[in-house]
């Protein structure tokens, strides 16, 4: 276009340009556009202009929507960004024509906002979080293609929910689908399959999915946890043909504890018995039959230690008894002793129970290291060595006697010189007031006996009378006068006590000692000789293994040797035939001769000769000693036989006994846990100081294995303490020191290993002595949980018989901790026994369990009956084989009566057949595997005797039983409250103080309270009243002290307020009120029935 054209008037120019627009160059375009307005649509007519980005950019400044007339080539990044920034009106068709517009995120987002379906045009990089957010606010439902394109979809809960609602299988793309998404999928008809769970194990966390899958595929039970493996689910699976395979059982250990699953599996494949769970009680006959088809191996036990805890199984495998979780300590000791007889190294292959897998409590390598310090090989036949042991024992006994004197001192009639002096004053005063001088004689007799009659009674009388005379002359009788006398008396008493005590101890020790071989042989030979005598007397030569002829030949030989003896011949004693026959006849008649009879027969008075003849005839009997055997009864050496031997010495007894060493060492090892053995080995360099005591352990009560362990554990500390108190033993071998200070050793060992007084007072001395100090803190922790239990599903009972008192439901009774020690210390139902801890927990802590404590007429705990509730059934069980003279029916009736009175749904009370074979009476026997499977206790059989039922109680005939083990109890029973005590003992109050500390949760507060703990001393208080879990005490100065345990029982407030009213105390306990306000809200929901 030339200058002339450009100078045309605008309208003409415009017409010209528009007519020739397609020929316009870019330069010309710029020129003309400065003069005239060119409609944007004309751009499309010019192929050059429409392709030029600069032109586009220019046109956009004029008209932001002019881009639609350009060709795609014109769309540079700058132009695209400009279009975006100008907010050009981009339509659906624009994107089709100009897909490059989507390169701009702003354009992208606005397009997607307007037209979400355009998402399909985006590539992965264009799908941003903003796009996702836009889509969430739209109606868009993503599909698989979208999800494949960008993983951002998976992070959007909203979008995925929509996606899954349309295509439920998309749930598999989500790593951790939420509950909402899962519900959406299920609503859409999603049926999960096993493969889905394998693909995404997270799905296993969702119950709904699992159960849905299970509806279609019974093998999904393999993914169930213990809670879902119920009777119903198992039966459902079985009905549809499910039988667990080895892989199933390996993948899910919970299946291994289900009776039905395992029975089916084992019937199909007997070797699967090796995968049995510890709590799976399958049919006894089936187990036996299966064991005939498959032999459990050691490897099976190693791979599945639960087998050792399965009582039904392991009891049928005597060859693996040492793996059993039910081994008693005694059995373990015997097994260890057997190994120690031949080896000084223990291995888990010899003693599997030492392996932690099978209950071992200490690392075996540490046990073996400890063994190196003990020597169990003792020369039992060397009398000098044995004498050495006797000297050591003597010193130990002296030390123990000292201990006993110290322990008993304050129980003596006169514990010290002050008491003795006071008794004299009292005596004299009584004599004068009663004018009865005889009282002095009685006193003197008593004193004489007190000192073991070691001072002549006359001397004592003279002394007492001397003091009496002083007294009547109105002079004071005090220690300045009587000191020497009193000290002499107490010393004599001390000597008397210690002598007596020593004799007692030695007599007791003698009973435990084994005889020397020589002494034993002598004793037994003596019995054999007696037996031979009897055989001779009864002419029973056959039993002697000889004929009468042979016997007579022996006699002839002896007679010849007597007659031809040169000393006898010198004495010219007449041995005519008659006399010889007489002697022989006496021998044959009585089996023996005696000196007097020989003298009479021979007409002599020479005991030497007669003794010679007697000895010679005795030798005949000794010739046959090996022909005679003693029966077991005849071989038994009783304590009475031992008592005639002449006392404890090395010729009679083996003092240093290798067998006892091994037994003691075995007991020591059985009582070790990791903590103890580590502490002992910390002192390993010092063990030799005290290892010599090993043969003497358990001979005397004060030096038992527990004390010995205490010595070993704290020996460094003890040694340091003892060393600090002695100066004269610098160069003395410490073994000598140990013997000299054995009483201090024992006192210190027991003191250093003793439990905290707070634990001791909280549990009580008797409980602690039963459970052992070492374990007390664990039991105390458990007890605080017991004490907090307020109600249960089993009604409490109480019953008195002439000899027993039975009681249940008193959850805070500390004696309940002892159900594993009564009636037998080896019960596995105990807190620290893995075999029985589940049962222990259930009966003492859970609503579904309880225990009846049985006490004798002296209120001592004798035994117990365990109670379990499942649904409408209560099952009782005693210890296996225990015969209790208790009327179980009365107990059962009490339970049913309470169930009726409280509208509860306990319909039946049974006693398990396992303990019921000792019960008299005709009861219906019911067989149901649920008597075993639905209970955690090991000692149940699948049969039980029906003792009582609602129908029976209500006078109806028993129809078909409707046992429902799963129904929820309708009622819970509140714990009965202990009566308020108006004169509680110091021990009771101290116990409450200790429990308050034990139950404190805050560690710092607990420490502070512990530091300030003191026992209760009643002399400091004017009045004290206590309830089960509180006390109020008024000090002598009027201060009121109140203590309440943190137990949420609303009845506490009532009790305390009542007492305070009575005492005229106005203060309110804010802490209690707020604690109980929370509890009231909870209590209102509980269907509690007060007793």
């Amino acid at each position: 276009m030339n200058r002339i054209t450009m100078s045309l008037p605008k309208p003409i120019l415009k017409r010209y340009v528009l007519n020739h627009f397609s020929e316009l160059s870019i330069e010309e375009f710029y020129q003309v556009s400065k003069r005239i307005d060119i409609p944007a649509y004309y751009i499309s007519k010019n192929s050059v202009l429409s392709r030029d980005p600069k032109v586009l950019s220019y046109m956009l400044d004029i008209n932001k929507n002019s881009f639609e007339y350009f060709k795609p080539e014109a769309f540079s990044i700058e132009c695209i960004n400009k279009i975006a920034n100008l907010d050009a009106e981009i339509q659906y068709h624009h994107i089709d024509k100009f897909p490059m517009l989507l390169q701009n995120s702003k354009i992208c987002e606005s397009i997607i906002k307007e037209f979400p379906t355009f998402l399909k045009k985006l590539d992965e990089s264009q799908i941003t979080e903003n796009i996702i957010s836009i889509l969430e606010n739209s109606y868009y439902i993503p599909d698989e293609e979208d999800i494949n394109k960008s993983s951002l979809f998976l992070k959007s809960e909203k979008l995925m929910e929509r996606a899954v609602s349309k295509n439920p299988l998309l749930i598999l793309r989500i790593e951790e689908p939420s509950e909402t998404i899962i519900r959406a999928a299920l609503c859409k008809g999603y049926v999960p399959e096993k493969a889905h769970f394998i693909y995404n194990p997270y799905l296993l966390n969702n119950n709904s999915l699992l159960m849905k899958a299970f509806e279609n595929d019974p093998s999904m039970i393999v993914y169930f946890d213990s809670e879902k493996i119920t009777y119903e689910s198992v039966m459902s699976a079985r009905e549809r043909g499910f039988v667990a395979s080895e892989e199933d059982l390996l993948n899910n250990i919970y299946l291994r504890n289900n009776q039905y699953i395992m029975e089916d599996a084992i019937k199909k494949e007997p070797r699967l018995i090796r995968l049995l769970g510890d709590n799976c009680y399958i049919d006894y006959i089936l187990i036996k039959e299966t064991l005939e088809k498959y032999k459990i191996t050691k490897e099976d036990l190693e791979k599945n230690p639960a087998l050792a805890k399965n009582h039904s199984l392991i009891s049928l495998l005597p060859e693996f008894s040492l793996y059993s979780a039910y081994l008693t300590n005694e059995e373990k000791q015997k097994a260890i002793a057997k190994v120690l007889c031949n080896s000084h190294v223990l291995t888990t292959s010899d003693l599997p129970f030492l392996d932690s897998k099978f209950g071992g409590k200490a690392d075996i390598s540490k046990i073996n290291e400890l063994l190196k310090y003990f020597d169990v090989s003792i020369n039992e036949t060397d009398l000098n060595i044995q004498q050495g042991y006797l000297q050591v024992l003597d010193k130990i006994v002296d030390g123990i006697v000292n201990i006993r004197y110290t322990q008993n001192k304050f129980s003596f009639k006169y514990p010290d010189i002050v008491a003795l002096n006071d008794s004299l004053i009292q005596l004299f005063s009584n004599v004068i007031s009663t004018k009865n001088y005889e009282l002095i004689s009685e006193y003197v007799k008593e004193l004489h006996s007190f000192i073991g009659e070691s001072i002549p009674i006359e001397l004592l009388k003279n002394e007492i009378e001397k003091y009496y005379n002083i007294y009547v002359s109105n002079q004071p009788i005090d220690l300045s006068i009587t000191n020497e006398f009193c000290n002499k008396i107490l010393n004599q008493h001390r000597n008397h006590f210690m002598r007596n005590e020593k004799n007692k101890i030695l007599a007791d020790i003698e009973k435990k000692m084994k005889l020397t071989e020589k002494k034993k042989t002598t004793l037994l030979n003596g019995r054999k000789i007696s037996k031979i005598e009897n055989l001779i007397k009864t002419n029973n030569y056959q039993q002697l293994g000889i004929t009468e002829e042979q016997f007579m030949t022996e006699i002839s030989i002896v007679i010849n040797s007597i007659v031809n003896n040169k000393d006898i011949r010198k004495l010219k004693i007449q041995f005519d035939d008659l006399k010889i026959i007489q002697i022989v006849n006496v021998f044959k008649c009585y089996g023996r001769l005696d000196v007097n009879r020989i003298n009479n027969i021979l007409g002599i008075n020479n005991s030497e000769v007669s003794k010679f003849i007697v000895r010679k005839f005795e030798q005949i009997k000794f010739k046959f000693i090996n022909n005679v055997t003693l029966t077991e009864e005849e071989s038994h050496i009783s304590q009475w036989d031992k008592s005639k031997l002449g006392g404890l010495n090395q010729t009679n007894y083996v003092i240093g006994d290798g067998d006892r060493c091994i037994t003691n060492l075995s007991e020591l090892l059985v009582n070790l846990d990791e903590e103890i053995v580590t502490k002992i080995l910390d002192n390993k360099d010092l063990i030799r100081d005290v290892s010599f005591l090993l043969p003497f352990i358990n001979l005397i009560d004060e030096l038992d294995i527990k004390t010995y362990i205490n010595i070993l554990v704290d020996y460094d500390r003890i040694k340091s303490k003892i060393t600090s108190t002695i100066d004269a033993f610098e160069n003395t071998d410490f073994t000598t020191v140990v013997l000299k200070k054995i009483d201090d050793l024992i006192f210190l060992a027991n003191a250093y290993s003793s439990i905290d007084d707070i634990t001791l007072f909280a549990l009580g001395r008797e409980i602690v002595s039963e459970i052992g100090e070492h374990n007390s803190s664990k039991y105390l922790e458990f007890y605080t949980q017991m004490a907090s239990k307020q109600s249960g599903s089993i009604p409490p009972i109480s019953l008195s018989t002439p000899n027993y008192y039975l009681e249940s439901g008193i959850y805070s009774d500390p004696e309940r901790l002892l159900i594993g020690k009564k009636p037998n210390k080896d019960s596995c139902i105990d807190l620290l026994n893995p075999a029985g801890v589940r049962t222990y927990n259930e009966v003492l802590l859970q609503n579904s369990g309880d225990v009846i404590l049985i006490r004798d007429s002296q209120k001592r705990l004798d035994s117990r009956i365990l109670l379990f509730r499942r649904g409408n059934v209560i099952q009782m069980v005693t210890r296996a084989g225990e015969r209790l003279p208790i009327d179980f029916k009365t107990i059962a009736n009490q339970i049913i009566q309470q169930s009726i009175a409280n509208n509860d749904n306990i319909d039946y009370v049974f006693v398990n057949k396992y303990s019921s074979n000792l019960i008299d009476g005709n009861y219906v026997l019911v067989k149901d595997s649920r008597f075993v499977n639905n209970f955690s206790h090991a000692d149940f059989s699948d049969s039980a005797l029906l003792l009582s039922s609602k129908r029976q109680m209500q006078g109806f005939e028993e129809k078909e039983l409707e046992l429902d083990f799963d129904i929820e109890p309708k009622c819970s029973y509140q714990k009965p409250r202990k009566k308020i005590s108006y004169e509680p003992t110091e021990t009771e109050i101290t116990r409450l103080r200790a429990l308050k500390i034990a139950m404190e949760i805050n560690p710092e507060t607990k420490e502070n309270m512990s530091r300030n703990f003191e026992p209760f001393y009643s002399k400091e208080y004017a009045k004290v009243i206590c309830g089960e879990d509180w006390y109020i005490a008024i000090k002598n100065d009027g201060t009121v002290e109140e203590l309440i345990l943190p137990i949420k029982d609303s009845r506490i407030l009532e009790e305390i307020e009542k007492i305070k009213d009575t005492l005229g105390i106005e203060t309110k306990n804010i802490e209690l009120e707020s604690m109980l306000t929370d509890e009231t809200a909870i209590t209102n929901e509980v269907q509690g029935i007060k007793r």
């Binding site: 110290t406 340091s720 303490k721 905290d756 560690p1003 512990s1010 530091r1011 300030n1012």
Partner: protein
């Protein structure tokens, strides 16, 4: 009962405390509250237990500062 004393001997495992009455009380590290570090010369408060026949043992041992000593003397710390 609660007493105050000074660590007299200590080897990292056990030791003795000397009380204000010049009595020696044994202690073990396990009885030190919250495993505090204790050293010879530290002033401590503790609960005294007497084990038969007359062995004194310290429990719940707490190291205290001078300020605390004075404050403890004034406070009534009964249950």
């Amino acid at each position: 009962m609660k007493l105050i004393g000074k660590i007299n001997e200590y080897n990292g495992k056990y030791g003795t405390i000397i009380t204000q009455n010049n009595e020696f009380v044994d202690f073990d590290f396990k009885d030190v509250s919250f495993n505090q570090n204790v050293s010879i010369g530290d002033i401590v408060e503790f609960r005294l237990e007497t084990k038969f026949p007359n062995i004194k043992i310290a429990r719940n041992i707490n190291v205290i500062s001078d300020i605390q000593i004075n404050s403890n003397r004034l406070k009534d710390d009964n249950l």
